[in-house]
Assembly symmetry: C4
Homo-oligomer: 476 residues x 4
């Protein structure tokens, strides 16, 4: 960008002497920007107009796509939050990381609670959730436990005999079984866990729902399949069983539907998308033509150095071409998503997102019409090698400290437990985010003396417990 | 500010040669500041005195107005917090964003609780709150539900038949109905919600109160009308019904009142406001006179360039004039508010706030008496175009990243769900506020194993529930 | 500090020409520092030695005093936290700001709870706390309510009739009254609050304790008097009664005591304090002598300008003198505190703290022996006026924004409710602390659906409540 | 690093004049780096290759060691968290700092709860935890209380009579005692605490566990001994007894074990460690040879100044030698840990961590091949004295403020209670971390009015309590 201006100015300063030969004039014109070309030959700025139009339509398309995407994401999340509250006993907001049980009876209670909530779905749930119908049957809940094949663990004697092969045992609960019509499931579930051997228990089941919200926006509602997996993780055998709920979601077109009001604007959207594809193709042709012309000029002018020849192919054109190709592919994908034949939202969002970013970044080239801006770019280019060298040095030191901190402080502080956390922590420190190193700013939730006689205090449990067999720790 | 000084100095440096003609002397004097004029002609700084007086009185007025405003705002907020604790079951401090219910029985419980609290107002409430008396009747609570006209939703079969037209059904509870005199309202409320179809339930009612606190400040207490709306939002049909309480407040003069001690200082306040209006008018006249004189000098001295001619109209005067006009209007409005004829606090506060800000900013001009300060301003003026160009570039890049981040990361992270949040998040990052990107610093509230047998564990509910009809998901 | 060096260097550079007359040599020697004097005349650096000794002993004294102070503060705080847990029903860690009650029954419950805890002190409390014995009687708890003399408030009709004079009614509970020996105080307390009229209720009582912890450090335990005031604040009449606990503490020497092990090191401490006083007096004499000598030299050398003459009185000496005087007074006070004749910890801590700070700041003068350091100081002096001018401008703008923000945003956002908060908020913003303006980072505590049938759900209360009198809002 | 290049350039610039004698050429070659040597004499860069190999293998070793360490640390922590939930009544996540009890009955309840949980280990616990078997007996729990020998404390009369000697009384609970087979331990524990005299109560017991998780990684499981100490701290006698749980862990090889699948890769690991030791020894020999050669050249060239002679011994070699020695010792230690003969993880981690850091920092020397980098280092060297002087001044001021702040504000604000906290707080302020000085950003947990009739409200306790003896505060 800078060299041509140099040519221009050197030329124009000698204008009165007529030293500008034809070749120079041609080059001169080649490196002019839209404004200058308009003043020089009154050539109309078609390319510029197309770009401005493209910015407008691509942004509108992105916003519309983003808004519909946002609705789907919100529906997914709301459902996941609701499932956590409904299927995990005593779950509260944002306690995912610390949600765990610590005693044998807690494990059974939690399982029984989840099974009960599942069985009484139609009485408990608010929303439009239902079991999956396979043929005429309802889908079942699978309770699977994974355990070591053999495990005689006697920590008291420092001895153990283990076969680390993992076996799986499953157990199915069907919603239409008679036992859930009034009495708690507790008595009916014949589930016994061998706590010495078991690694994980998984409760897996499917629920279905329809996102009616889109009807308000003249869009066809989607059908959602939720595959819920509640995992009890005892892999560490550390008295603490972490419980997590995974919600796997798939979106499908509903089979049979009827909506009284007409759902129409899909067609308009399709036409708009087609218009965008057209615009981008025109922009693409313009840019490719300019690039080819640049390469021709480059072939004709061999007298310049290699780095100067690079200047003939405008880097902005390359970016515009990439952006246009991405937009075209993205828009085609989007049309297919709207026609419900594909559901690859993610690929489409990456394509449209990247292309829109490039389109907006491309606006900067028009600010390059002003001379001073180019000076800035030149300075940046000159400083680059030093900056890279500095970054290399810093990276080495950073890596050294990371490894050292991980291995030396890992045993003593939370923030050094894994390499990820060490690097994050050091980056924060460098960034000035966080000085309070060994002083976690935790919110302390103090119930202590207030909650004395809550039902889990252990008192009530004792009467019902069987007599303790003290010397029976070695089980087979 | 800078040019005149240039004139002065160039003039004064050649003084010994008597090159300063009459015109230059006149201009010289014109551009002198109050101090210099005093030393040159012993002219007394009336304008300066008026401005200093204005700063004092305007600030006092603002502080007094702000203090009385603060009291009203505090009363509003305290009431809203109290209503949330009184009408929302199990509400706790700052849980507004997560306050929601998840099961059918919770929805009914919440509605019954609110109705009961409303009916037993005089037994439960501490403050001076009462029902609205229309004629001789008490105001009623309206329970309105909005639902789809028709909705057969069968997620199990992936089918639905819906009429998205929204119907509204209302139901009124009157405080003087006999049924609330001892037994819970539960049995009496004939409210049944069709959870498949309903979108929102709204409980709306009015309460009245008097803010007695102002009596201590020798002010007349105001009468407040609170219009409370509790909304159960099921629009998403996602198992989660968010509950929010809106408190709409209107302030009115009380109809009939008697206070033993005299309420007096309104008159003094009125006089003070009148004095401020007077001061501002005088300042206004002075400034307009100076501006007119400046324009005259400008007309006489055509030999200067356009940008130099701009210097003749002092920009500080313009600001003072705007500030004075705002103060006058604001003060008049304030007097009417005090006379209880108008209640437009907001307009008045914008007027007085802006004018006071200008008055204080105006103090900077007196610091301009020192030469060095002007150098700073000159530098700033020179750097402005580059700064604007840089900002434009940065804005383009920022917008590009915003769109891209929203569409690509929106599905994966909370902070990218909507454009607002993306732009906020990126601004924070630029600002260096927040590095912990994917690591929400949440406070984890762990009740888990402690709260096992709380009444909501689901066990107690089973016996009372009707038998589950498994294949009845398609309701009309 | 800079000028003398100038003299020295200008002198020493011309040394070979013998231009340094006697006066210059004298001045030269006067401005030499300890090191240079030692090299010039082998004068031993007594003054320096005294200062170094002083730094050591003053710091040791401060640390010892600080450690004993720390223990007292910790005792005070631990007690206040414990009292909050013991006398406030349902109080939890760090909820002081939100601790409030919202219903009539809550108010009575809270009062009854506090009275009960007070009456059963010896059964409930762990520590060594007791009632105050006046003569042979136990101290009583005073329950005082403040209310308007007359108040007929009818918000329903927008009418009120009020006498804003405030009356006080007190009521005493004695620990040795018979009624607290088994049954709850609820029935016995004949307290009825007129919620329309009452402003505050205050529960005030005294407790005594002994801080035994000091015995381990060979110090005599102190006797503490705690005056506890629990205030129910209904001044706003906004349905929300804030409850706060104030703990006023006075420390006294115990009357009669016996400790088996000897409490001894007070004497050693006294001797150490005396030694510090001696050291400071010596340092004081040295410094005063130097200052007087400086003034004499100043009188002799009239040829210098006023600002140069200022240099003759070393500012470091002034600081050292102030520091010495403070240390002497502080040490005497400390000795009296140790002898238990005075208890003015605060004055003593201010004296010793300031003096130690000056002593440490004084260390910087010895770093001034190096020439470059003085250059830094010279630069700072030159830049000062501009810095001050900038600060003035910034202050004006800051004030303008503060007033404007307070009055215009005060109604809409928490952080603009009072002038303090606005100025704090703006300072934070300038400081780059806080961008999340309208987005309070609150921790949301969600119990919602979990805590359904807690006893306060309102159901249980209804049966016992008297029938509601609907038209009785106008009470006298 | 800079001087040699100076020599080279000065030499090469005069090359045409053949002024470079043999000595200069030799020095020239001596100061060449690997690349230059390769171009000059085609000498193969053995040293460089060894270093690159070392970086790779040392990093792999560290990562493997770190990962196995991480697993042990995670097991320790998970167990500690679980023990806190299991042995501390009502404990919740991250409340360690505020976990305390306030009433007499709470103390007893807490002790009884812990004893019960311990006795019912096999019924309550999930993981593989067991009592320690001494001979054929189970290990016992020791309940020890520490109290003053004599203590008659009468705060009511301001008198006390105390013997500060501390006595200890212990009491043992054996898991196989008959009394825990069904009834709560409450009645059986004959523990009475004299709250006036007791200082601390300690519950100490041992548990054993086996970390089975390592089986999945083909490693032999370790046996863990947990020594748990629950401390009730009443030293302050301030109504607040803090409770803390300490978990002391020792790792031992299990006595007798049998695993069905083969545990094998220890041998491969051993071979890899041996290979690292070999690599480091080769690198060590290379470096020592280079250092010796450098010293020889130094001896031969006496014409240079002392600081120039320092240049002959490359500081990078010194660092590499230290790093190699640390790696060799660390690797030997690691092999012994793997052979289960030593368990000094900490020493090993310090050795390996430091050596890896040095190895990575050593990479920077190769970036020194570029000339500009050395300029940076030269600049840093020149600026060092000034930087140190500035740091000294800042440290003095910092210390002064610390002492002053501690003593003067210590009584009024949490952040100034101890010297540590003051210095931390001031550092934060300097760092710009924290402006909100007196405004703790606490999360307020408000239960207040919600939790009215919880069992600890004090009502239920009254009937069972013995009549209060009011004048019995003087106990022996």
């Amino acid at each position: 960008m800078a060299n041509p201006e140099l040519v221009i100015s050197s030329c124009s300063s000698h204008e009165e002497e007529n030293h500008c030969n034809f070749n120079q004039q041609k080059l001169n014109f080649f490196f002019m920007n839209s404004c200058e070309k308009f003043w020089a030959q009154e050539r109309k700025p078609w390319k510029l107009s197309i770009q401005i139009l493209k910015i407008a339509v691509v942004t509108i398309q992105l916003v519309l796509f983003g808004l519909s995407n946002q609705m789907v994401v919100a529906f997914k999340e709301e459902n996941t939050i609701a499932f956590k509250h409904l299927f995990l006993k005593g779950y509260m907001h944002q306690m995912d990381d610390t949600y765990a049980v610590y005693t044998q009876s807690d494990v059974y209670d939690q399982i029984v609670f989840t099974v009960n909530q599942y069985l009484h779905l139609y009485n408990v749930f608010i929303g439009n959730h239902a079991y999956e119908n396979k043929d005429t049957e309802q889908s079942t809940m699978a309770i699977c436990q994974h355990f070591y094949k053999r495990g005689n663990i006697c920590p008291g004697n420092d001895t153990f005999d283990i076969d680390p092969e993992i076996e799986t045992e499953c157990f199915f609960v069907e919603p239409n079984e008679p036992f859930h019509t009034g009495t708690p499931a507790e008595n009916k579930l014949n589930l016994t866990l061998d706590f010495h051997r078991f690694l994980t228990v998984e409760l897996q089941f499917k629920l279905k729902a329809i996102n009616l919200q889109t009807v308000h926006h003249q869009k066809l509602p989607n059908c959602f399949d939720f595959t819920l997996t509640i995992t009890f993780d005892n892999k560490a055998h550390s008295e603490r069983i972490k419980i997590s709920l995974d919600n796997d979601i798939s979106i499908r077109e509903c089979k049979d539907w009827h909506v009284s009001r007409s759902i129409q604007n899909t067609h308009y959207m399709m036409i708009f998308d087609a218009f965008i594809i057209l615009t981008c193709l025109v922009s693409l042709i313009f840019c490719i033509r300019s690039v080819i012309r640049g390469l021709q000029v480059q072939l004709e002018s061999k007298e310049f150095s290699v780095s100067d020849q690079m200047e003939f192919v405008n880097r902005w054109y390359i970016m515009t071409i990439i952006s246009d190709i991405l937009t075209v592919i993205g828009s085609i994908l989007k049309m297919e998503i709207q026609a419900k034949s594909v559901t690859s939202y993610n690929v489409c969002s990456i394509l449209l997102g990247t292309s829109t970013m490039f389109v907006w970044l491309g606006v900067i080239q028009y600010l390059g019409f002003f001379a001073k801006h180019s000076l800035l770019i030149l300075t940046l280019q000159a400083a680059l090698p030093n900056v890279i060298r500095f970054c290399c040095c810093a990276a080495m030191i950073y890596l050294g400290y990371c490894f050292c901190g991980w291995i030396m402080l890992g045993s003593y502080h939370d923030k050094f437990h894994s390499l990820n956390m060490v690097s994050e922590c050091l980056f924060s420190l460098m960034n000035g985010d966080d000085f309070h190193y060994g002083f976690p700013e935790t919110e302390l939730h103090t119930f202590i003396s207030e909650c004395k006689n809550l039902p889990n205090s252990g008192k009530y449990r004792l009467e019902d417990d069987p007599p303790v067999s003290l010397f029976c720790c070695c089980k087979k």
